[in-house]
């Protein structure tokens, strides 16, 4: 399989993402934000960072960059798109995913390991996990507090579009295990079609047992298994 990692000025987790994708055999190439064409790929990744400095609103400027028009087009054609952290923020800013990421409830940047409960493993993104599985991956963000109106939240829940939720080590979902104030402990969501996943935590920083664990590895292996080895 082939993948593309979009790099905006201010993106800073492209190296981590490229490492994780390479390890899974997803053959990543980096694509600069001013490009207007994407190579033929099975997966587009928008990685973390502070695109354009995020001085206006996290992900806002990137949502209007040249390459994003192409990302939208490819997503509509069914190509899989993964947005992590700032990438999730960009996807909500572009309208590819509903809701918004607000400043963390405690108003501070937070970097630590969290537990995530896999709510819906019926997409290539989470096919490497059992349904209900608990993974340990880190978060590192200032604006990860997921917000949407009640109707949208009900729709996300009703349509199985909540991908992962913050939880305890045993999978119980409580306010205590919510690191940023996200509504209904939402850490990641799908679009209706299930070919776009946005998530705040960083699976790409949990792919090596000596470097913080392998909680994120099944995500990349699962993607490679489901989307490869056709090309």
């Amino acid at each position: 399989m082939n993948s593309a990692v979009i790099v905006f000025p201010g993106t800073n987790r492209e190296r981590d993402m490229v490492l994780a994708l390479s390890a899974a055999g997803a053959r990543p190439v980096e694509v600069w934000h001013r490009e207007t064409r994407l190579p033929a790929v099975d997966l587009i990744v928008i990685p973390g960072g502070f695109s354009y400095g995020d001085y206006l609103r996290a992900g806002c400027m990137a949502g209007h960059s040249p390459i994003i028009r192409e990302v939208k087009k490819q997503a509509e054609a069914g190509v899989h798109v993964l947005g992590v952290c700032n990438g999730f923020q960009v996807l909500t800013e572009t309208g590819l995913l509903p809701g918004a990421l607000l400043r963390n409830a405690h108003l501070k940047f937070i970097c630590k390991d969290v537990h995530l409960k896999v709510e819906n493993n019926g997409t290539p993104f989470l096919s490497g996990y059992e349904s209900g599985a608990v993974m340990s991956v880190p978060v590192a963000h200032h604006d990860g507090n997921y917000f949407a109106d009640e109707a949208t939240l009900d729709a996300l829940d009703g349509e199985g579009r909540v991908a992962v939720r913050y939880c305890g080590p045993d999978g119980t979902v409580t306010r205590y295990h919510n690191p940023n104030g996200s509504q209904r402990n939402i850490a990641g969501i799908y679009n209706k079609r299930g070919n776009i996943l946005g998530m705040m935590p960083h699976p790409e920083d949990a792919i090596d047992k000596l470097l913080g664990g392998i909680g994120g590895k099944p995500l990349f292996d699962g993607l490679a298994g489901a989307l490869g080895p056709t090309s």
Binding site: N12, F109, C111, L210, L211
Partner: protein
């Protein structure tokens, strides 16, 4: 031009003698712009005029040192054609005045010092000192500094891997913010700052120049008074996004072969970068200020030259390579402007709107700037404290719990969870251990990095305190299994014009030098911050040390957490029960007294080498050095990290319990080891070893005393968040 009166040059921080020297050098009166240039270049911050006589005494060489002090950062060989580039630098004065921006731009400045040399920054560290927790400004300063360090490092995308943070009343009016960056470069692609080749173009890149930070270096070279808050406009404003672009653009340019010399514009901005580059290369410069990208209108030559606007670099390009460089900076949407040309005159000629705004000889302002031999005295050593005279007001475990929940020993999680310590995907050991460990991308190697200093020892005995600061960083690196290679020092002291302060400085240098020699860790870079005083009250002498070591295989690194149940825990080293200047004495008995614990460098070396060898062989499976708070504190930290308890079976013998438990004797480690022969191994190596207990359970147990990990954790983890919540 205004007439030069004593009031004008005094306002520029220049003494009458210094002004007379200027008249000698120029053979005429300087104009105001020229006076401003002298003022910053001869400031303590830029010229090191009080310290350089003594800095020359530090050992700076070893076969693995590629570049020692004098450049933007130090460079050491880490094998396979790679180099580690690092330095620590202070941003104390600005951080007190405006904590968020002061700390943020401190991080920005030290990052630039490192990538200027061709290295990709891979780790940030810091040393923080705040005033007493009860001081009304402390909480606000902690919040601002931490969020500034995080705000800058997180956005730039370089992990902040830890550091140290402590509190003491002597820092009430002068906090310390020392930031360290470590980068990785190809050993044959290091970039230096010496400008050479008359006719070569001088290029300005990065952000535009504004009026911020004018006279920051002069401010950092004076004591504070009650009115220091009025100096807020001299603090710069950081833009980490532009810094990130600047890193990528510079590294992209450095992959080509067009740069002759490069330096960042730090303290004293365009002035210091141009003068220092020209002085090192023995050339002159024609500088045209009309070409300097300006953020504001109608800026004067004085303002252009003294601005400390951030995220700017100056470089000299090879002839005919202007377009190659310009294209790269345009891609990254950064300013790029040819602002001058090198000459062979040895003079800096600065033009603005067709007029000569300044015409100065270069060397007297840079390499040949003033050097002072300030008078110094050695303070009489304090009387020793005898353990029998120190009370133990309660059961040992109750005292342990108090200590673990005290400001200096409590968990600093509240701080480092605000730092992105994982970005770049190479973090092997996170904050909270003895040293951070970061993998060198695409290799098995890893760098271990630590920062440390024990200022209360330095006050009691500057020589011993200097030794101890180096020894402790060396021990920290050893405890994760790394071979220590070199250090950077950030020497924070009070007013050097006072002989007793100068005596502290001289003593600390002597101690640092002695430790560097025996432990074979040369000083490759550093920074001096003097005048850390408010209304005549100096900070504790704080020679902060940042040390870097190498692990040839990152999978061999060990941490401090007990690796399992049922394991013997060994104490390595000798315990004398030294309570003088200990945290126990200060926190429990409320006394800041006694002698600093003696540091025996040869013993330090012998014991440390043994520990490192046994980690490398896989015999030692977890390790923690014993420092602040003594043996029981170190043991408690290991237990908490693992969430595994320990039953203590040893005791102090002839020592009283509190001296054994909390004495701060040096050259000691706690370890667990695989196999049954560890004691024999240590005996063969003539290293003192004692089995002090066995891991297991969910509590610390010693005789009839029990302290559960939950209770201990609550005391340890809650202090800082509770304090910050106010």
């Amino acid at each position: 031009m205004s007439a030069m009166t004593p009031a004008v040059f005094a306002e520029h921080g220049l003494s009458e003698a210094e002004y007379d020297k200027i008249l000698d050098i120029l053979g005429r009166e300087p104009n105001l712009t020229e006076l401003g240039v002298f003022s910053v270049m001869w400031s303590e911050h830029c010229s090191y005029k009080s310290s350089k006589k003594w800095l020359k005494k530090l050992p700076t060489e070893a076969p693995w040192v590629i570049c020692g002090p004098g450049e933007n950062a130090g460079v050491i060989d880490i094998g396979d054609g790679q180099a580690a580039v690092f330095k620590m630098e202070s941003h104390n004065h600005p951080s007190y005045i405006e904590p968020y921006q002061g700390a943020a731009t401190g991080v920005g400045g030290i990052l630039r010092d490192v990538f200027t040399m061709g290295a990709r920054p891979v780790a940030n560290m810091n040393v923080l000192r705040f005033g007493d927790a009860s001081h009304p400004k402390t909480r606000h300063l902690v919040a601002g500094v931490v969020s500034g360090i995080g705000g800058y490092g997180n956005c730039v995308g370089v992990p902040t891997l830890g550091g140290e943070c402590a509190f003491h009343g002597s820092y009430d009016g002068n906090i310390l913010v020392n930031a360290m960056t470590v980068g990785i470069a190809d050993a044959d692609k290091i970039f230096y700052s010496a400008a050479t080749g008359a006719g070569n173009l001088v290029v300005y890149v990065g952000s535009k120049t504004g009026r911020d930070g004018i006279h920051g270096a002069t401010m950092a070279s004076a004591e504070f008074t009650e009115n220091s808050d009025e100096k807020r406009p001299t603090v710069q404003v950081g833009d980490p996004f532009t810094e990130k672009l600047l890193i990528e653009a510079c590294l992209e340019l450095m992959a080509t072969d067009v740069i002759v010399a490069i330096q960042d514009m730090g303290a004293a901005g365009l002035t210091s970068s141009s003068f220092e580059m020209a002085s090192k290369g023995g050339v002159g410069v024609d500088l045209n200020l009309d070409q300097v990208p300006a953020r504001e209108e109608n800026m004067t030559a004085y303002e252009f030259l003294l601005s400390e606007s951030q995220e700017r670099m100056l470089m000299v390009l090879k002839p005919g390579e202007e377009d190659t460089a310009r294209k790269i900076f345009e891609k990254w949407e950064l300013d790029f402007s040819v602002v001058g040309r090198l000459t062979d005159t040895g003079r800096m000629v600065i033009r603005e709107k067709g007029e000569v705004a300044a015409d100065l000889p270069i060397d007297p302002l840079a390499l040949a700037s003033p050097e002072y031999d300030r008078p110094w005295v050695v303070a009489p050593p304090p009387a020793d404290v005898c353990a029998a005279d120190v009370p133990a007001p309660g059961p040992i475990f109750a005292l342990l719990k108090n200590l673990m929940g005290s400001p200096d020993l409590c968990s600093k999680r509240w701080i480092w969870e605000q730092y992105d310590h994982l970005v770049m995907g190479d973090t092997v050991q996170r904050p909270g251990g003895d040293a951070a460990v970061v993998r060198v991308r695409d290799t098995q190697k890893a760098l271990a990095i630590t920062t440390d200093c024990t200022p209360r020892y330095c006050l009691a005995d500057p020589v011993m305190g200097g030794k101890q600061a180096v020894a402790e960083t060396w021990r920290n690196l050893t405890a994760v299994g790394a071979q220590p290679l070199a250090i950077t020092d950030n020497l924070n002291f009070g007013n050097p014009e006072r002989p007793e302060i100068m005596g502290q400085f001289v003593g600390a240098i002597e101690g640092i030098g002695a430790a560097c020699t025996v432990l074979e860790v040369p000083v490759v870079s550093g920074n001096v911050s003097l005048y850390n005083e408010t209304n005549g009250e100096a900070i504790l002498p704080t020679p902060a040390i940042g040390a870097v070591g190498l692990l040839t295989d990152y999978t061999q690194a060990v941490g401090l957490a007990f690796p399992g149940d049922g394991l013997a825990v060994y104490l390595i080293g000798e315990t004398q029960g030294h309570l003088g200047q200990s945290l126990y004495l200060r926190e429990i008995a409320g006394r800041e007294e006694g002698k600093a614990p003696p540091v025996d460098l040869d013993r330090e070396r012998k014991i440390g080498d043994f520990v490192r060898d046994e980690i490398g062989r896989g015999v030692i499976t977890s390790c923690h050095d014993i420092s602040d708070g003594g043996l029981l504190v170190a043991l408690a930290e290991m237990a908490l990290a693992a969430n595994i308890g320990i039953t203590i079976t040893a005791g102090g013998g002839s020592l009283s319990d509190h001296a054994w438990a909390f004495g701060e004797d040096q050259a000691r480690y706690l370890v667990t080891a695989a196999g049954k022969h560890f004691v024999a191994l240590a005996e063969v190596a003539r290293v003192p070893v004692t089995c002090i207990g066995r891991t297991g359970g969910v509590a610390l147990v010693w005789g009839d005393q029990t302290l559960t990990l939950d209770e201990l954790r609550a005391a340890h983890e809650d202090w800082l968040p509770d304090y910050m919540a106010g």
